[in-house]
């Protein structure tokens, strides 16, 4: 297993997570109290919850996809080992 590629992958995932977090913050960072200015502020800010849930589900799905690809790679490796 190449450790450098593993770290690289982890970094990529972390960067993605950070992007998601900042995206959320820019959506939330609006002055409260004033009448709902944006879509996200309407309906008792329920869409903020939607954004949070979607981020979590998306994050978990991406994690699962990377795991899936890693297992596929391991399968290929183990198949090659058997032949040699």
């Amino acid at each position: 297993m190449k450790i450098s590629s593993l770290i690289n992958r982890k970094m990529k995932a972390a960067a993605l997570l950070l992007v998601c977090v900042f995206m959320q913050q820019s959506l939330c960072a609006q002055p409260s109290g004033s009448p709902p200015a944006s879509f996200m502020e309407s309906n008792g800010k329920i869409y903020v919850v939607v954004a949070v849930v979607v981020t979590i589900v998306l994050g978990l799905l991406i994690y699962l996809i990377t795991l899936d690809r890693k297992v596929s790679r391991l399968e290929k490796q183990s198949r090659n080992n058997k032949i040699s």
Binding site: V54, L61, L64, D68, R69, S78, N81
Partner: protein, 227 residues
């Protein structure tokens, strides 16, 4: 990049659809009892449906193992049961959160709550039993036989016993509906999110189980290769 199978893509699409539409669709006004918390129907209830489907798959593979004797069927059976338990635990926890605000306490010894807890304990014992046997062949055989027993207890504890007594859940004695949901509390629009949610969460469970089976197969192959 290897292509994702269609059912994995379906799982992603259905789950994202659920987590967006679960908040967007209109819900019926239910005399102020449930209010918006009925949206838990799209998140709490599919955990149980997913668990039951995973346990059904698990018992099918247990029977297949006993019939055919191929070890791979035993891998399938265990991993589907494992993911099923995770779904069940999540169902219990989310149910307790909902109950805390709906019924005033996280655990009110509701027959359905107790039944679900008993069902989960029976399935946990499956892993205790397997773990206590060192001989791999015996482990698989005993495990498969116990799996069938555990499955026989699953539906009585979840669907039959809660019907026989008064229950806070829908479907108890003297109330409308079945132990899954009360038809009066849901609308056709809600079913348009509920069933995709059930399929989406179940596919996610299958995906996780499938990954674990693949990892286990690689591991076993490596061991066989080394010896």
């Amino acid at each position: 990049m290897p292509k994702l199978s269609w059912w994995k893509i379906a799982a992603c699409v259905l789950l994202l659809y659920t987590s967006v539409m679960g908040f967007f669709i209109k819900i019926p006004v239910l005399d102020g009892r449930l209010q918006e918390s009925i949206r838990n129907l799209f998140f709490h209830v599919p955990m149980w449906f997913g668990m039951m489907i995973l346990f059904v798959v698990s018992v099918i593979y247990a029977i297949l193992y006993l019939n055919k004797g191929a070890v791979k069927y035993d891998y399938y059976s265990t991993e589907f049961a494992r993911t099923g338990i995770i779904f069940g635990v999540l169902g219990i926890i989310t149910g307790a959160i909902w109950a805390n605000y709906q019924w005033g306490a996280p655990w009110s010894n509701d027959p359905k709550q107790n039944g679900a807890a008993v069902a989960l304990l029976i399935y946990l014992a499956y892993f205790v039993l397997r773990g206590s046997v060192t001989d791999l062949d015996k482990q698989a055989k005993l495990g498969s036989v116990y799996n069938i027993f555990a499955f026989c207890m699953l539906f009585p504890t979840l669907w039959i016993l809660p019907r026989l007594t008064e229950s806070l859940h829908p479907g108890g004695m003297g109330s409308e509906g079945n132990p899954g949901l009360n038809p009066d509390d849901s609308s056709p629009e809600m079913k348009m999110v509920f069933w995709p949610a059930v399929i989406g969460w179940t596919l996610l469970g299958v995906w996780i189980s499938h990954l674990k089976i693949r990892i286990k197969t690689i591991y076993e192959n490596q061991l066989a290769h080394q010896s």
